[in-house]
């Protein structure tokens, strides 16, 4: 069944078929619990040791919906297991014990248990455990939206000015995003002044902060990462462990989504830089691109997520054909915030599987967007960094660093895994001006849920794994029109290519904008988009409205050609405002 549970085939009978992992060193209890859970029509797996449980969870990422564990276990403290599961897999965990002392229960809750059951456990208690799974999924979606929304908001909101700095306004957008509205609607409400933080964190995960975070994560090694370690490495005053922990969770989610999204990216197609009308539409491109982002670079920034599948999709895909038109149409559709959309399924709230394993070292990042000038895409910040004003300088997004570059200026919320690292890298793209960056990424507004548009906003360089993100690990100049690079760009390129095919989760890192994107839309590194179009400010229309992108796909296949034509200006009204220069 699909990981996201909700969209999995078992949905119709949910909660039946809920995949439960029970961990208890007491064989008697294990046997009883197994029987009880089976009576609830759940799918049960039992484990007598915490280590075994962890191995199982790691091996089969996404293979379980919920974990029930005893507090006391000989080989590992139940609380520790609880923490690990929460961090690595982001699954709901229920603790159980004979001991019902308040202090113990409190400890369980502190460590993240979503419930604490006292033995002997009653059937009715087990029958209800599905609510924790459900709740988490909903929250994840919300968080993602928030993150994305923030990003996208940024894009739209911030005029070119912001992008110029390559700065992402972080945090501010968050508030906007909260609403989860369509990108367009977001524009309306841009309350720029309203910087309320998202419901979750008070910390605004600026691009810089996120980059620090990613850097720390990469240094530690994704597998060994933990909030405390990251916090120490980051060395940011006033940043708490909780902030990092929740950010890490989101990051993981993001990465896993990217991975999922990757399937779809067709790196090649993505964003081909079709000669776009970009030249004139440069502006549009900006908008377009924003979604699609980033042509390769995007990946750098955008999804730089380290390694993990970050999408960076192909930021380069844009084989900048001249016109950079980065058709961002690609995946941009997922306006996912340009960021790396990893939203393989926006729905999937739990991307527990995030596989960070692949250091996404922004293969794409290397996307030398710099070379963009001609080939555009490389520069395109599409990498999902929609907001990133493409500074003409196309700095090759060195995503390879593991996204340190992420140009995503917008990143504010990086917390969302998608942080399309827009920033800086993308700015380099700007040289695209010639390129027509304008290629309006055709993000066909089809808002469709991203899922269908696999293109996730390609711009966001979704770390789309699918897209050969590889990108470019080496500072490949993205010029390569190689679509692959494009992919890395995380951009939507993948989206585009993927769009057709993958419509599904823009693995590219750019999660299909659709549902989630609304807010997050295309947070592509703002810089990226603008890249090239010479539009510095190309503000990528906030996020690619998924709907925008949705249509894009086909054309994009050329390797992300952001066909100008595809671009439906109407859709990008938002974008127009700022992007088109």
């Amino acid at each position: 069944m699909m990981e996201n549970g909700f969209s999995s085939p078992r949905n119709d009978s949910f909660p039946a078929g809920l995949r439960v992992l029970v961990v208890d060193d007491d064989p008697t209890w294990l046997k009883i619990l197994e029987k009880m859970l089976k009576k609830c029509s759940y799918e049960v797996t039992t484990c007598g040791l915490a280590r075994d449980a962890l191995n199982l969870l790691r091996e089969r990422k996404g293979g379980y919906d919920i974990v029930i564990s005893d507090v006391y276990m000989p080989d590992m403290d139940g609380f520790k297991l609880l923490e690990l599961v929460g961090l690595e897999m982001d699954l709901p965990v229920i603790m159980m014990s004979v001991d019902g002392e308040t202090s113990r229960v409190m400890k369980g809750v502190q460590h993240g248990a979503c419930d604490y059951l006292l033995k002997p456990i009653r059937m009715k208690e087990l029958r209800n455990i599905w609510q924790h799974v459900f709740r988490k999924k909903i929250h994840e979606v919300r968080d993602i939206e928030i993150l994305e929304g923030n990003e996208s908001f940024q894009m739209t909101r911030n005029g070119s000015d912001q992008y110029e700095d390559g700065h992402f306004l972080c945090g501010e957008d968050l508030t906007l995003i909260k609403k989860r509205k369509d990108i367009e609607s977001k524009h309306d409400e841009k309350d720029i002044g309203d910087n309320t933080s998202t419901k979750k964190a008070r910390v605004v995960w600026s691009v810089e902060l996120h980059q620090k975070f990613v850097k720390a994560v990469n240094q530690i090694g994704f597998d060994k990462v933990g909030p405390k370690k990251i916090l120490d490495l980051m060395n940011v005053p006033r940043l708490t462990r909780e902030n990092v922990a929740s950010h890490l969770q989101k990051y993981r989610l993001y990465l896993s989504r990217l991975q999922k999204g990757n399937d779809f990216n067709n790196p090649d197609g993505m964003v081909k830089q079709s000669d776009s009308p970009l030249s004139d539409s440069a502006g549009s491109f900006g908008s377009q691109n924003s979604i699609n982002l980033q042509p390769t670079d995007v990946s750098n920034g955008c999804y730089g997520f380290s390694g993990s599948s970050l999408v960076l999709q192909n930021v380069d895909p844009r084989s900048h054909d001249g016109d950079r038109k980065i058709l961002v149409t690609t995946p941009v559709a997922e306006p996912k915030r340009g960021l790396t959309v990893d939203a393989p399924n926006p729905r999937k709230p739990r991307i527990s599987q995030m596989e960070f394993g692949h250091p996404i070292a922004p293969p794409r990042s290397e996307v030398n967007f710099a070379t963009f000038d001609s080939s555009f895409p490389s520069k395109y910040p599409w990498c999902g960094i929609p907001g990133i004003p493409l500074k003409q300088e196309h700095n090759p997004l060195h995503l390879n660093d593991g996204f340190s570059h992420l140009p995503m200026p917008r990143q504010k919320q990086l917390t969302r895994a998608d942080y399309p690292q827009p920033a800086p890298a993308i700015s380099s793209a700007p040289s695209l001006t010639e390129r027509e960056i304008g290629c309006p990424v055709k993000i066909k507004p089809s808002r469709n849920d991203y899922s269908s548009n696999a293109c996730h906003v390609s711009s966001t360089a979704s770390a789309v794994d699918s897209i050969p993100l590889q990108t470019k690990t080496n500072s490949t100049n993205h010029q390569v029109s190689s679509t692959s690079s494009m992919e890395n760009q995380g951009l939507n390129m993948n989206c585009l290519t993927g769009v057709e095919s993958s419509r599904k989760n823009i693995n590219l890192g750019m999660p299909p904008f659709a549902p989630l994107d609304k807010d997050l839309q295309v947070c592509f590194v703002p810089g990226d988009y603008y890249m090239n179009l010479g539009l510095q400010n190309i503000e990528v229309p906030e996020y690619f409205d998924p709907s925008l992108l949705t249509d894009v796909p086909i054309h994009l296949n050329d390797g992300l050609r952001f066909d100008y034509e595809f671009y439906d200006p109407t859709e990008y009204s938002l974008i127009d405002q700022s992007l088109f220069i």
């Binding site: 007491d26 029987k35 002997p120």
Partner: protein
């Protein structure tokens, strides 16, 4: 005895186990779980408990021998596990003895611990016998669990 009589006997044995406090409601719940897919589920659980708990009893014995340097922490751990285990099928008396033992442990009352342990072993063994008889009757009567 004919079937009917056996069934009556099963019922009365069962009732006495409850009345005398050997078993509590958890046992009923386990029997409720039992179904045709696994008609001897409860018996299997009890068997599993006894083989597993034998290990604990042994560990506790060994830890107790080491007096006066008894590792109370370890003892408490063992008891905690035994308590949890016995509660799984409603072994009320056994569970109570475990609690008793743990109290002596926390008070570092060696004598109290020894005494509590003796009682625990006794209850442990008694229940085993009684349940064995019960299950045999159940099999003979051809019924599982309550009627």
């Amino acid at each position: 005895m004919d079937r009917k009589q056996l069934q009556h006997q099963v019922a009365s044995v069962r009732k006495s186990l409850f009345d005398q406090g050997y078993l509590d409601d958890q046992f009923n719940r386990l029997e409720d779980l039992q179904d045709e897919t696994n008609p001897s589920f409860v018996e299997e659980v009890v068997t599993l408990f006894y083989s597993d708990s034998a290990r604990f009893i042994q560990n506790i014995e060994q830890a107790m021998i080491k007096k006066p340097n008894i590792d109370f922490g370890k003892l408490d751990d063992y008891m905690h596990q035994l308590k949890g285990s016995s509660s799984s099928f409603g072994a009320k008396k056994v569970k109570n003895e475990c609690s008793q033992f743990r109290e002596c442990c926390s008070a570092r009352n060696i004598e109290g611990c020894i005494k509590a342990f003796q009682q625990l072993k006794q209850e442990h063994a008694t229940l085993r016998r009684k349940l064995e008889t019960y299950f045999q009757l159940v099999k003979q009567a051809g019924i599982a669990g309550r009627t």
